[in-house]
């Protein structure tokens, strides 16, 4: 399954918004098959921050592990955020 993050907004910044996005995504998450991958597509996102990412990406990484994949992006705010989140969580994101 591929998730376009722009559907949650193009400016993904606050912790509160990240929490709300994860909560609204939970029903969809339940539809994923036991061996199915979840791919995150950052295209269309303008600004991304560690606060939002910590509330949305990290719980999904903890839940899905290697089945959670971040698709490539040139967005510098995504790149720096992902690097920091890996440092904070002590886990590596799988990239597609």
């Amino acid at each position: 399954m591929k998730v376009e993050l722009k559907k949650f907004g193009t400016t993904l910044i606050s912790r509160q918004a990240g929490k709300e996005a994860l909560a609204s995504f939970q029903p969809t998450l339940g539809e994923i098959g036991a061996s199915e991958n979840l791919e995150i597509d950052f295209s269309g996102v303008i600004t991304f921050s560690p606060s939002w990412g910590d509330e949305f990406l990290v719980p999904l990484l903890n839940q899905l592990g290697d089945r959670f994949i971040l698709l490539p992006t040139d967005n510098p705010s995504v790149k720096v955020t992902v690097k920091l989140l890996e440092k904070i969580s002590g886990k590596k994101f799988r990239t597609g």
Binding site: I13, Q16, F48, S49, S51, P76, V78, L84, I88
Partner: protein, 177 residues
């Protein structure tokens, strides 16, 4: 009279986080309209958002006097200013790092160590993100909390933190790009 009104308009305090988010979106739209900022837009907005949201996240229900933040910018001067009259970095971090002795130590920890003033929620790591962004891009940051002043700019791996003569309540951030 005209200049007085200009000054008045530039001193707007946003007491509600949602209002700050809206004004931040407006900053992003303005930056996107200027081709010279195209490579930095996402980073400028993310840094500004992290600083502004920190003010709300760490002071919620604990504002000593005036709740909310000041947020102003002038794209012609390539300048963004944020300020709050919150608890400040030292008091916030002292809850999880009681050994911190002064504002200078607190600021150094905040910008270098993965630590949170609201453990176990892992909050407060935005300042490490800000340091990474500023030092690797044509930007600079002046950050003050209490009597500690931090200056950061592109290419500087070491933090420059000095002690000011006077103490201020909360935090002040000036971003240049």
């Amino acid at each position: 009279m005209h200049s007085f009104i200009e000054v008045l308009h530039s001193f707007i305090i946003y007491a509600i986080s949602a209002v700050f988010q809206t004004k931040l979106m407006k900053l992003q739209s303005s930056l996107l309209q200027s081709p010279q900022f195209s490579k930095l837009v996402s980073l400028i907005v993310a840094v500004t958002g992290e600083i502004g949201n920190n003010s709300f996240d760490h002071n919620l229900g604990k504002w000593p006097d005036v709740p909310g933040i000041f947020f102003g910018y002038d794209l012609n001067k390539r300048l963004i200013v944020l300020a709050d009259r919150g608890l400040g970095i030292l008091e916030t971090l002292s809850r999880v790092r009681p050994e911190l002795k002064n504002h200078v130590e607190a600021l150094r920890v905040a910008f270098t160590e993965i630590i949170s003033g609201r453990d176990p929620e892992r909050r407060g790591n935005g300042l490490k993100f800000i340091r990474e962004v500023i030092t690797e891009n044509p930007m600079s940051l002046f950050f003050r909390s209490g009597d500690a002043e931090l200056r950061l700019q592109e290419g500087e791996s070491e933090l420059s933190i000095t002690r000011a003569e006077a103490d201020i309540c909360g935090c002040l951030a000036i971003i240049k790009f």
